[in-house]
């Protein structure tokens, strides 16, 4: 009995020594600090979701001059698609803003795509109140179908009704992605949007709205929100290494306790090391039968990531911005998101 435990001590001591050599506590803190700063400086690039929750009269959005041109190819693809989709209904859409705001076209479109009937009393709603109610009903239905929470959806009833082009585009692009419509949307369209808020004086903010992502990386636009990591990858690749390093340091600090060597973030897509990390942070052990300790294929890695996400969901950290599939497929941004979530909640742990 005693022989074996000696062998553990043998292993622990050299590791501790490496830790001491390489990662003095102060050094860790410095690295960590830099990482946080890098992340936080990017938060400001993120469109503030709270702005969307203000009452309608407090806010106006507008495209910056010349920005609409960028959108024209996208708008044309969408109009052609809707007209094709609804050709049997004798409907012709000419202008997205003018034709979609009251919800009637959306109603027909979504019934066609989902194959479901939405019940409402009449399709001829002339008054503003009943038009809005109808629109709300349809948007709720769409949100529910696509599993998007109304609070974070980028298409509010008021915005659509106010003929806000950006909101309408977000909605249509999300529908195209969700129903896997076989059309090719122009890639990587971003526009500068001016938001004018009335807070005693008029305040003007310019934000960058990403309307479509690249077609290669799937689901980019249907993702709930742009976050600091989107910004990091798009606008500050030079800071990426810094962030990666401080997250790696955090991970090494905890996994060295269980004799696990951490080499690269990219290899964490198998979920194993992340499960260890979370167990160390939350003070429990995960038995080996609960996951694949040596996953050999995508399915096994995905299963591990699902276990990890279930564990994380149990403790009510803030909303995570990626799925088990994202992590298992090896998407670095998603791996960073998970790690950062753990880092920001447990960085004070020894």
């Amino acid at each position: 009995m005693s022989k074996k435990s000696n062998s553990v001590l043998d292993k622990l001591i050299p590791l501790g020594a490496i830790q001491r050599r390489n990662l003095h506590k102060k050094q860790i803190e410095e690295l960590t600090e830099e990482g946080i700063n890098a992340i936080q400086s990017l938060q400001s690039l993120k469109p503030d979701p709270e702005a969307y929750e203000l009452k309608e009269n407090d806010k106006r959005t507008a495209l910056e001059i010349n920005e609409k041109k960028k959108l024209e190819p996208l708008i044309q693809v969408l109009i052609d698609w809707i007209n094709h989709e609804l050709s049997d209904k004798r409907v012709i859409v000419k202008d997205l803003e003018e034709d979609l705001y009251d919800g009637q076209i959306l109603h027909m479109l979504i019934e066609k795509l989902s194959g479901l009937k939405i019940s409402n009393e009449s399709r001829l709603n002339l008054g503003e109140i009943s038009q809005k109610q109808n629109l709300k009903l349809i948007l709720n239905f769409i949100n529910q179908t696509m599993g998007i929470h109304p609070v974070i959806s980028k298409w509010k009833v008021e915005d659509i009704y106010e003929k806000d082009l950006i909101a309408i585009l977000h909605l249509l692009v999300a529908i195209v992605k969700y129903f896997k419509v076989n059309i090719t949307l122009p890639e990587n369209i971003t526009v500068k949007v001016i938001i004018i808020q009335k807070k005693k004086t008029l305040e003007k903010i310019t934000v960058i709205e990403k309307i479509t992502g690249s077609n290669a990386s799937k689901d980019e636009t249907s993702k709930k929100d742009r976050d600091a990591f989107d910004a990091l990858f798009d606008h500050a690749p030079e800071k990426l290494e810094l962030v990666k390093n401080s997250l790696l340091t955090f991970m090494r600090k905890h996994l060295s306790k269980i004799n696990i060597e951490v080499n690269s973030l990219e290899k964490m897509n198998d979920g194993v090391q992340l499960i260890y990390l979370f167990g160390v942070l939350e003070n429990f052990y995960v038995p080996e039968y609960a996951y694949y300790s040596n996953p050999s294929c995508y399915e096994e890695k995905l299963e591990n990531c699902r276990v990890l996400f279930d564990l994380i969901d149990d403790v009510n950290l803030q909303e995570r911005n990626c799925t088990p599939e994202d992590v298992a497929s090896g998407d670095l941004k998603s791996i960073l998101r998970v790690l950062y979530l753990l880092f920001s909640n447990y960085k004070d742990r020894d």
Partner: protein, 451 residues
């Protein structure tokens, strides 16, 4: 309930035996006068029933409303064989009742001479006064008094009167029978559960102290991921098996309460808390954790495990560790059934890997021999009892689990530990699970260790 007291008084040991094997029958039951089953069996002198009760672990020094122990009752009715059996099983020979009378007072008063002589041989005091300032000798008839005085002179027994003292008794003798729990039905109405204070909160749930039918109870509100009607019915169904009243070393679930989304388990309140807290947390205990006391803990735990292993079907969802063992006021250890896992409980997280056998950290419960795994856990408890240290206390659960299952981390036996205990721990913690003993095999060893 009336029936069982009749069975006892008739001395129907056959029917009584089948009654006591039924898990929801509590053999510490008392009647309106605080007489337990053991009191009545002693009163009527049914030695075979007394034996069954004592073997099951009935409280041997429990008190009825006059503060008589079963030994008092046996002596009041001149049942010498029963009295001797009780004495062999650690009955308190000088226990005094409400009047300050010891069993010997009664033997002398009723002139049961043979009984009195036997009591004196076993250490009963002839010079102890009752409330009315009478010693047993004062109560004897004259002829017998002379006999006794002669004997005492020969044996050099001190006859200086010991005055009556209020409340001179030790913890062990002060076991007034609690009002019996009458667990006729499992479901408890939440309105009947006044809560006093929160005791603890952990991964399994939140535990409150409260009252039910005027008894102190602990109320555990389970922490579960989701609750639904389906889970509630699983909960009701599975907790039925945890209402075990017929084993001294099992702390039963008294009842359950479903008040969605909360699932609640009610069990008897244990003032002293868990074995873990007695060993590692509390430091102002009013009793000594000496060798005998520790062996008694180990013995009781082993008896409890043996009971669980012999249930049909076996109870698989109890994980043995010192946090799941509660200590009763009379220092009886009890396995806490409210810590059992349910089919819907969290399975991926293990919070106490230090007590678990290496194979359980790797494989599913279905794929291992749970009895052997429990024996490993018992080995860890033995180590914990006799070192008074937290096993692998310096490691976090994740470290513990990985180091035990992969790197062969094991407990070290300190050199100053009793050789017998060391041997026993080694047997329990055999690396090959099939070679570990069964609890029924180590019970005699533990009995021998008691001095």
């Amino acid at each position: 309930m009336e029936d069982i007291f009749h069975l006892i008084r008739e001395g129907n040991s056959l029917s009584f035996r089948s009654w006591v094997e039924c898990i929801d029958n509590d053999f510490n039951l008392v009647d309106d006068h605080g007489f337990s089953l053991l009191h009545w069996a002693c009163w009527d002198g049914h030695l075979n029933i007394v034996e069954i009760l004592v073997n099951k672990g009935a409280k041997i020094n429990s008190l009825n409303k006059c503060e008589d122990t079963p030994l008092h009752n046996a002596c009041q009715n001149n049942h010498l064989n029963v009295a001797l059996y009780l004495l062999k099983n650690k009955a308190n020979i000088n226990a005094v009742n409400f009047h300050g009378n010891s069993p010997l007072h009664y033997a002398c008063h009723y002139d049961y001479q043979e009984l009195a002589l036997n009591l004196i041989q076993n250490g009963a005091l002839l010079n102890k006064c009752n409330k009315y300032n009478q010693t047993p000798i004062d109560l004897c008839r004259d002829e017998f008094k002379e006999v006794l005085i002669k004997i005492t002179q020969n044996l050099n027994i001190d006859l200086n009167r010991i005055p009556f003292r209020q409340d001179s008794s030790s913890r062990i003798s002060r076991q007034k029978s609690k009002e019996a729990y009458f667990p006729t039905q499992q479901n408890i109405n939440i309105d009947e559960l006044p809560v006093e204070k929160m005791i603890a909160t952990n991964h399994g749930g939140t535990i409150w102290k409260g009252y039910w039918q005027e008894n102190e109870v602990s109320i555990k509100v389970l922490k579960i991921k989701e609750s639904s009607q389906r889970i509630a019915s699983l909960f009701n169904q599975e907790s039925k098996r945890l209402r075990i009243f017929n084993a001294a070393n099992i702390l039963p679930v008294l009842g359950t309460c479903v008040s969605l989304p909360d699932l609640i388990i009610v069990s008897p309140y244990m003032n002293l808390g868990s074995l873990y807290s007695i060993l590692h947390v509390e430091n102002d205990l009013d009793f000594e954790l000496d060798f005998n006391c520790l062996v008694n803990f180990a013995n009781g735990i082993a008896r409890g495990m043996d009971f669980l292993h012999n249930l049909e079907p076996m109870l698989l969802n109890f994980n043995l560790n010192s946090k799941h063992v509660m200590i009763d006021d009379d220092l009886t250890p009890k396995l806490n059934m409210s810590d059992c896992k349910f089919s819907f409980s969290e399975k991926v997280k293990i919070f106490n890997p230090a007590w678990m056998a290496p194979e359980t950290l790797r494989k599913k419960t279905d794929d291992i021999n749970k009895k052997s795994a429990d024996m490993w856990s018992f080995g860890v408890i033995l180590w914990e009892l006799f070192t008074k240290k937290v096993p692998f206390g310096e490691f976090s659960p994740m470290q513990c689990g990985i180091l035990i299952s992969r790197d062969g981390l094991r407990l070290e036996l300190p050199v100053n530990m009793s050789v017998h205990i060391q041997k026993l721990i080694k047997i329990c913690m055999n690396e090959e699970s099939a070679k570990r003993p069964k609890f029924e095999m180590i019970l005699p060893i533990l009995e021998k260790l008691k001095k």
